[in-house]
């Protein structure tokens, strides 16, 4: 049943551009990119119990790395993508070594501080990043010679990457390693007494989350064809965290739903409501009060209670 509805939903996503206008197609692309970003953060927050407020580092760094290698180094977009992802993973490895000296609030503060360093660099290191002007004139990749310049073609490309991301992250969380990761979230001390290297498990997860963060960063920079320091800002990290928490951390679908909500509010509501940030605040306040565990687990609970009441 679950599988069938998944296939139907995927089919609907595939044919979506045939019916929708450009505005909605682009909106959907943005949602898919934000969803990959939120899912990668959820590996840390939901499955590892490591709340990071610096996840935009990975998105922004990969985006800048790609922009810089194509415009300054003259690399092709494809090569630049590989370089950007590898560089982001190396950075995640270093950041992880620093941030994982702590857990809880300490971890959150260190990830925030590290991302602020990158944000500051993006603003100030004008020779490399072009500072506040950002880097423009970027191009999208053309896999197998297929141009991705139209809204619909880029949507399909993003959808394909999203499906692979979702699938691999689903495998990750149910894997032996993923089970150990959840164990470290719930009982870290017991896990090390059982023979699990808790630090190493967290570090590998940090790098793996960095990898998917980098993937979302590449999709983001291809989409906007422009990169600005704001992509590294605390707001960008916080929006990812909000998506995870609102949708339901530690669930696969939660961050996707949370990201969709965030992007829709951001794009759609801002056209009608001037102070859309306030609206965003109210919506998240409502979620926290009514469905404190997040939309996906919250609706599941309400739904199963209804069903239980009827039978």
């Amino acid at each position: 049943m679950k599988r069938i509805s998944g296939v139907v939903f995927l089919a609907l996503l595939c044919v979506f551009p045939l019916f929708a206008g450009d505005f909605y197609i682009n909106l959907a692309s943005q949602i898919l990119i934000a969803a990959i970003f939120a899912m990668s953060l959820n590996l840390l927050v939901g499955y590892g119990g490591l709340t990071s407020l610096g996840h935009a580092s990975f998105l922004g760094f990969a985006a800048y790395a790609s922009a810089w290698s194509t415009t300054q180094m003259g690399l092709g977009v494809g090569t630049a993508a590989v370089v950007a992802i590898l560089a982001t993973m190396v950075m995640a490895g270093l950041f992880g070594m620093i941030a994982l000296r702590a857990t809880g609030l300490g971890f959150l503060m260190i990830t925030l501080a590290l991302s602020q360093v990158l944000w500051g660099l993006a603003y100030r290191w004008v020779a490399v990043t072009n500072g506040d002007n950002g880097m423009s004139g970027l191009v999208r990749p053309a896999p197998f010679g297929i141009s991705l310049d139209s809204g619909a073609s880029y949507y399909w490309f993003t959808l394909a990457v999203f499906v692979v991301s979702y699938w691999l992250m689903a495998i990750f969380v149910s894997s032996a390693f993923g089970s150990a990761l959840r164990g470290t979230r719930d009982q870290a001390r017991r896990m090390s007494a059982l023979g699990h290297d808790v630090w190493m498990i967290r570090w590998i997860t940090f790098i793996y989350a960095g990898f998917w963060g980098a993937v979302s960063g590449l999709l983001y920079v291809y989409y906007t064809k422009y990169i600005h320091p704001s992509s590294l800002s605390i707001t960008a990290s916080a929006e990812g965290l909000l998506s995870v928490i609102a949708g339901g951390s530690g669930t696969l679908g939660g961050p996707v739903v949370g990201a969709a909500l965030l992007i829709i509010l951001k794009n759609y509501a801002s056209a009608y409501v001037e102070r859309w940030n306030m609206l965003l605040g109210f919506v998240f306040l409502f979620i926290v009060l009514v469905l404190p565990e997040g939309i996906v687990p919250g609706l599941k609970r309400i739904f199963s209670r209804r069903q239980g009441g009827q039978s």
Binding site: A176, S179, A180, D186, Q187, R189, A193
Partner: protein, 249 residues
């Protein structure tokens, strides 16, 4: 391995919390296969001693050897791979998971499979079969698929023991395995501990003297972080100092 190498050897172990001594010059030798009971009043430093053996705390000075190998500075997970396992005085289980998943996490801890990012845990059938077998040994076979949060306190104590036993440890530390149990449940746990094979050396902290003394061959009495009396069970019980410190008559 020759029988003369102790399973556990502790030499001049000292631990200070700030200026407060928790372990003072503790020396201990536990031979392979031995059943050792550690007794002492509250605050005597029994659990602190366990935490240093497992590596949760590093000692201020001194040495800890496991089957002749110096483990004083090793991390807890490294000690687990050398055959050390423990249970907790305060139940430390994965409450939201099933019993079989709890025991499987113990098996996974010693298996190279724990680094596999791609193969689902439930595809490792040999681990699941083994976890169910061990749960059967502690009488929880029928409840293997229940969540830990749904089972009774006494049953959780048995899961603690099952998790440790599944690892087939060479040295097993039991921290108050009878704490908070009814008389009937104590008998059940006692039988479980008595049935642990001799390949596993046992060191046990326990307050319930009536039950625990039957299980022990040798007894160590700790008081204010010091070993007061140490030796054969009956000799320790008969000792004047034991009566003074512990038995109170």
């Amino acid at each position: 391995m020759s029988a003369s190498v102790p399973a556990l050897e502790i030499v001049n172990l000292k631990k200070f919390f700030g200026g407060l001594p928790a372990t003072q010059d503790v020396n201990l030798r536990v031979m392979p296969g031995e059943r050792r009971l550690i007794i002492g009043p509250n605050g005597a430093g029994k659990t602190t001693l366990f935490n240093q053996i497992t590596g949760d705390f590093l000692p201020t000075s001194g040495q800890i050897k496991l089957f002749g190998a110096d483990i004083t500075r090793l991390k807890p997970h490294e000690r687990a791979h050398m055959g050390l396992s423990r249970t907790y005085q305060i139940i430390t289980l994965f409450a939201k998971d099933t019993l079989v998943h709890n025991v499987t996490l113990g098996l996974l801890g010693l298996s190279p499979a724990r680094w596999n990012l791609f193969k689902p845990l439930d595809h490792y059938q040999e681990m699941e079969v083994e976890a169910r077998r061990v749960l059967g040994l502690v009488g929880l076979g029928a409840m293997a698929d229940r969540l830990v949060s749904e089972i009774a306190y006494g049953q959780k104590r048995r899961v603690e023991i099952a998790m440790a036993m599944a690892q087939k440890p060479k040295l097993l530390l039991l921290d108050e395995p009878l704490a908070g149990l009814s008389a009937e449940e104590r008998t059940t746990i006692k039988e479980l501990i008595a049935a642990i094979p001799k390949e596993t050396t046992l060191v046990m902290i326990e307050h319930d003297m009536d039950t625990a003394l039957d299980l022990a061959e040798t007894v160590t009495l700790l008081h204010y972080g010091k070993v007061i009396v140490d030796g054969e069970r009956d000799a320790v019980i008969a000792d004047e100092k034991t009566r003074e410190v512990y038995l109170g008559h």
